[in-house]
Symmetry: C2
């Protein structure tokens, strides 16, 4: 186990009706807030109405940044930061999934920064301070509610880049699993694939971490137990609650502190999203099994066998490669069973002319990854996934 | 999953040499500290010398409360609180395992309280504020370094009582696994049994928590993987590191938030410690298999089977009771293999005249437990464990 500093101070209000604590939480930090959200779903399902009623009741003023895209754009960040500066906003409250929260994080930092917001995305070290963030989660997927990372897209340059700073970690997160009951089966499946991918990114590291791996397997089993259940019955509270809690722990640093690794599949998927604007979790579900097959070799086979045995209940009596391949196959089958596409062509990616440049960009980010794939191999993975 | 509020803000400095951060951490809170420790072990292994050199170098003044007993006494707490008040102490720094840290916690609270320290033990609600605590851990066992609980003994009344308050959770913990390399095989085994017991106390709850249970199984597997290794090779860093990290997560609330339960075996063991002053982890190791056998019935057999299969690798093809009993047997065998006593008579408890009153005291604390055992059953468990 490597040295680390653990600091995850986010206070989580988890469960039905926890929104009732909102006014008290906000009041610790200020009286003027910015609500950040995406489309109209929070208006349809009553969350917007509830939140604004609570704020009104507590004498808290608010401004709004709405229309945040699924892959949040730097333009939204700039708009939000301008509102914060103009209106003297003290607290940023994203309501939604990772897109709204990621956008809100960089808004909170850009509100305290004199230059252009995109600089904070391309250079994390410029983020020194941010307004406090209180996340209201409506989708179990990215784990942004408890981590210190934000991923922002710039469609003019086809860049989708993650930035990070400790001050971006939300001070508090309100996590009511009933809020996710209106999430579609497709988005539920996609979110589950995202949680599993975050977990796998840390699981496959060249550093040892026995306890880390057992914790990761527990989160993966939770996704497997409940992903399908939530897809089949959107009102299954235990499924929604377990997925929501798993989403936070897959990426809040717990799995990687002491067992560092550069992620593998996310850098590849970010290129897909940046060039084709596809759903992030879907891209991960398509790419992951292909990445696994390319990485499986004599050096990694025992780890893949452990994965297969501990997560997918594959018999440990099988020869190592057979067990490992069965684990990979079951991973792919599970994504498919949840209703996710298995090929890039199914999500409209039929033009491979960008694959070379995308592969070059992602291969550059694989230094320190479980396997440092060349741009040629990454391109091959894109092609095989078509 | 039940509603909960998650708030574990302790910053952990984990790994070799993290003591170098001490001065910077302390300086966030003050310049006058109280060191709290037990016998002379921290002087023999050089930790005391290192800590005081760092404090001296940073111009931080210190007072000392030494001689804290393994089951820390209220007399030590009173002494520490008096020093704090007299000397204007700003930060309390326990150096040791749970005994020193638990003692330091109530010292930190009593330093801010006008009445007698024992009142804070018998009535948690009186603890409103405490001096900041920075724990330097030298033993993987109680998890006190990351939780909000302190257990204090009063030998004049034969009471061993746990008190708790959010302000008792250490602000920071320095966890260097090499500090535990000088811990004896017996204490290492005892600490491992303590970690396992904390985990089991949360695992066996009448509330559902799928993810919680998988996390608990991961911690149990970590103890099983490394307890024996650390007993056999005290300098096995991976073993020491995994046990140390497991000790914190077994009890820092993560396993029980959303899945509440009143503990079962600890209340029984606390009576043993209070009347016979035995090593806490040893008492737990002796009692746990007996408790399990008494609690195993048609209502609980599936949970015990899951435990046996997921933690002890028992075949899931076996009939439920057979699997469950094998899991219990393996639990007992593991404690024994680590060199722990299996009977109370081995630790000098041959007089059963106190069992009735001890059983009555512990049975009262079992409301809300996995099984609400009567005082008669508890007494029977004590007798069977002799």
């Amino acid at each position: 186990m490597e040295n680390f500093i653990y600091s995850i101070p986010t206070t989580v209000y988890f469960g039905k009706g926890q929104i009732e604590n909102l006014a008290e939480i906000v009041s610790q930090y200020g009286k003027k807030v910015l609500l950040v959200y995406g489309g109209g779903s929070i208006k349809r399902n009553g969350i917007y109405e509830k939140v604004t009623a609570i704020l009104t009741g507590a004498g808290i003023e608010w401004e709004e940044l709405s229309g945040v895209d699924p892959n949040p754009r730097v333009e939204s960040v700039r708009e939000g930061a301008a509102i914060c500066k103009e209106k003297g906003i003290e607290v940023v409250i994203p309501i939604g999934g990772g897109s709204s929260i990621d956008c809100a994080k960089v808004v909170a930092a850009a509100a305290c920064y004199d230059g252009d917001a995109w600089e904070l995305v391309t250079n994390s070290s410029l983020i020194k301070v941010a307004l406090p963030i209180i996340a209201i989660l409506t989708l179990a997927a990215t784990g942004s509610e408890m981590d210190h990372i934000a991923v922002i897209s710039n469609m003019t340059t086809n860049d989708k880049i993650g930035t990070r700073a400790n001050c971006l970690r939300p001070k508090a997160a309100i996590m009511d699993p009933t809020y996710t009951e209106s999430v579609s089966a497709y988005q539920t499946a996609s979110g589950t694939a995202d949680i599993m991918s975050h977990t796998l990114e840390s699981y496959f590291s060249n550093f040892e971490g026995y306890m880390h791996d057992r914790m990761a397997e527990g989160i993966l089993k939770t996704c497997i137990e409940f992903g399908m259940k939530a897809v089949e019955n959107p009102h299954d509270y235990e499924a929604r609650a377990n997925l929501m809690w798993a989403s936070s722990w897959a990426i809040n640093d717990f799995l990687k502190l002491g067992k560092p690794v550069t992620w593998s599949v996310h850098p590849m998927e970010h290129e897909l999203s940046a060039y084709y604007d596809i759903t992030h979790g879907v891209g991960l579900a398509i790419l992951t099994p292909h990445w696994m097959r390319h990485v499986l070799d004599d050096r990694t086979v025992e780890k893949f066998r452990t994965y297969a045995v501990n997560v997918w209940d594959v018999s440990k009596e099988l020869p190592a490669y057979e067990a490992a391949e069965l684990g990979i196959q079951k991973t792919a089958e599970y994504f498919k069973a949840m209703g996710l596409p298995t090929r890039l062509s199914e999500v409209g990616i039929t033009d491979d002319s960008k694959f070379a440049i995308m592969a070059e960009k992602s291969a550059k980010k694989l230094k320190g990854a479980y396997a440092e794939l060349s741009k040629e191999v990454v391109e091959q993975i894109f092609r095989e996934a078509m």
